[in-house]
Symmetry: C2
Subunit: 461 residues, 2 copies
């Protein structure tokens, strides 16, 4: 299926656009008008203009609409979609709930919608979705308020739940990263994980894809798509405990066997994480850093306590902390005679001007595939931006930074590190998990060939 | 031991105060002068004034100093402390490392220091600590920069590591809470967890105590102190994987058997968490909310996806999600006919004006001991502040809120909810873990009597 007109439209119709501020058709229009192309509010009872755009009676009244944002209640959707089909629309977002997630009648209604979409070759996002964002192209097709604040980043967030998609997009805003795309898949009537992953794998602004998965009917197909993607993928599978009944009422999906999903993802080269925060963190690391050549992590810390937390968490997440090479140890001894702890983690005891040099020494050690640095911010010293600038490229080793300190005083230095190609995390555990995910990604991919799993049909929703 | 003069001094001497900005004696003085009482920079080679305070040659030159901040290198500490003893100093913070964490010579030096302290009845924080903060009294006795930004809150952070203490204090600043106290215990030469917990249990501004623990020689004594505290205590025990060698080099402590620690804490009525973020979150919930009467959690969500994550995480953390009472279900049906999911979680499908009423209905259900609410922020609606204001008191049920949304637009509403007595978290997992910790606290405390553990000496460092 071609998703070009769904995710990269040249013109948009908001069907059910409304002057009533309580309606989805109002919020959707409010965000849609930011798009730098024709946006038509469609409503037969609409008069005058909405956000400066004149109402039209029907989508068939305008030529060549690529994307329809369908803001009408569930029972009307099949008819509206048929009209879209007649008008030659190529993609549609269906916000309404009341389909496969809502019992037998809803399932029937969803089948009707899919039939219409198939007949007319319409790529369908939803139903039961809050839409999608591609901030870099000012495509903000969500009915949630405030989505205009989400900046353009380089991680595509593909979530089964629209609520989780928005939570992640706003979270990425709060943490200063943004997203290349945010997609709430909802009921996945004819655009599912596979189609969306394949599309954003080819999206120029997307450098990593992260998935929020509740469950899917064909897990094997999802896994194969992940394996075949050139863009790194990480996944958060929800539902370790029994949430099946509630989940099924949500997007009509079974959560399936959690452990089988986890094993399946890892078999197909997709590292899994266990929280929304870790999912974003993994995306940032995978998008910004080179692929490590293995799973060995070197830790440099200016404070021992957070270093212990990091070492603990790295090991629990399956990363290895090997001894540093003799040459590196000598080099560090030369930089800092009598250093607090000369193993791995390397602990400098406190921040100091030579801190960046120590990081550099560890990053160039052959035994180390990923470097994780912890340093409390000290205003008189700042961060070792110069020493770390582009280090991931020259050493071909990802370098991740974890810090904390007085928020305002350190803001500029955090930005400077990020601009120098060093992702900055807060909370030692989050940095450790991001580094471990990166290390695990390398371990799982091995030499780039992910082996076929042994048994057949092992992982199916 | 009386810690009054250590943690609530009337006058302070900074021994080793320095005009050299690279020295700890400079940073310590910079923060200490914020204290609203006499602060004496002590240095025999000091001339003129430092931060407006005239240098004195020796702590014996000034009368009645309560607290000495000892900013001199390890080998000189015993002599300096003896001088402090002669001068009648009652408490001392020893910042220098090079003691029990640094091999045999260091251990000997530490013994010498403790002997001097015991002889003169000095309560000693450290050595090998970055100090402490009691922001409410402008006691900012740390050498880290930026500690003046940490606001006064109501959770006391007692950390084995000074680095972790500062990470947590700055984190609490970033999240808008602050701390009632931040203490880096370091080597715990004569003030350990027990003494600090007992002191802050009696501290008027402290409503919860949270512990970062690497390991201690007498775990039983720590646990008994926790059990006897009237203030709620939560703990983060580090070191599930093998970090023993590095940890021992840090504060001279063995990390011990992790599982025994966890079991011990729970036996003695202390819920444990598994990250720095969860530790702060637990502290905020324990400090702000009434003690729940049991471990049953009711979830109300405006978006199903995050609700599923929350239900999953709550169950994994040992909380129960019981069915709501018939009366409550009827009440909710009345408020929202045809509601998406009428079980627990209650899912309203999207934010709406009646959302607060639904929360109120769940909070007053007899089957529910803790309420956790998730709602993406929608600007036109805001949060249900009025419905939730003081609800934890009228219903005698803690109410916690999780949200996400456009950061600036929602700031005021987050503040309003917090002022209404509702802790606000971001990330569904963090809210769920805070609620689960609160629920577990209630389950562990039972009717307030924590049973004696069966076997003796089961949990010892």
């Amino acid at each position: 299926m071609n998703l070009q007109r769904l995710f990269d439209p040249g013109s948009v119709a908001v069907v059910g656009a409304s002057t009533n501020e309580d309606k989805i058709g109002h919020e959707a229009m409010a965000s849609a008008v930011r798009f730098d192309g024709p946006v038509y509010p469609v409503n037969p009872s609409g008069e005058g203009t909405l956000f400066g755009e004149p109402f039209v009676d029907s989508v068939t009244d305008v030529d060549g609409v690529d994307l329809a944002l369908v803001c009408v209640p569930a029972p009307v959707v099949p008819d509206v979609l048929a009209e879209c089909g007649e008008a030659g629309v190529g993609g549609a977002v269906i916000y309404a709930g009341g389909f496969a997630e809502a019992g037998e009648e809803g399932e029937e209604l969803q089948r009707a919608v899919v039939d219409v979409a198939d007949e007319h070759g319409i790529a369908l996002l939803g139903p039961n979705t809050s839409g999608y964002l591609v901030p870099g192209d000012e495509l903000r097709f969500s009915f949630a308020s405030g989505v205009e604040d989400v900046p353009a980043g380089d991680v595509a967030v593909l979530a089964q739940s629209g609520g989780v998609a928005h939570d992640l997009a706003f979270r990425s805003t709060r943490e200063g990263y943004g997203v290349s795309a945010m997609v709430g898949l909802g009921n996945r009537a004819n655009v599912g994980f596979e189609e969306a992953i394949a599309y954003f794998d080819g999206h120029a602004d997307t450098d990593a894809i992260v998935l929020h998965v509740e469950g899917t009917d064909d897990a094997r197909s999802l896994l194969e798509t992940c394996r075949d993607a050139e863009t790194p993928v990480a996944a958060y599978k929800v539902g370790q405990s029994d949430v099946g009944e509630f989940a099924e009422s949500h997007t009509g999906a079974l959560t399936g066997d959690h452990d089988l999903y986890l094993a399946g993802f890892e078999q197909y080269g997709v590292p899994t994480v266990d929280s929304t925060a870790a999912l974003l963190d993994a995306g940032v690391a995978l998008a910004h850093e080179p692929e490590p050549s293995g799973g060995n992590v070197g830790v440099v810390t200016a404070q021992a306590g957070p270093g212990i937390i990091i070492a603990d968490r790295l090991q629990r997440a399956g990363a290895a902390l090997p001894e540093l090479g003799a040459e590196t140890r000598e080099r560090i001894d030369g930089i800092l005679p009598g250093i607090t702890f000369s193993g791995n983690p390397v602990d400098t005891g406190r921040p100091m001007p030579e801190f960046g040099e120590v990081v550099e020494a560890v990053a160039t050690d052959d035994a180390i595939d990923v470097v994780l640095v912890y340093e409390l911010f000290e205003e008189a010293l700042g961060f070792p931006v110069e020493a770390l600038d582009g280090l991931h490229e020259t050493a071909d080793t990802p370098v991740l930074f974890v810090s904390e300190g007085p928020p305002e005083a350190m803001d500029d230095q955090v930005d400077a590190l990020r601009e120098a190609g060093v992702p900055v995390y807060f909370q030692p555990e989050r940095g450790a998990e991001a580094a471990a995910t990166l290390a695990r990604y390398a371990s799982l991919r091995g030499d780039g060939v992910v082996p076929e799993p042994a048994a057949d049909g092992e992982v199916n929703g």
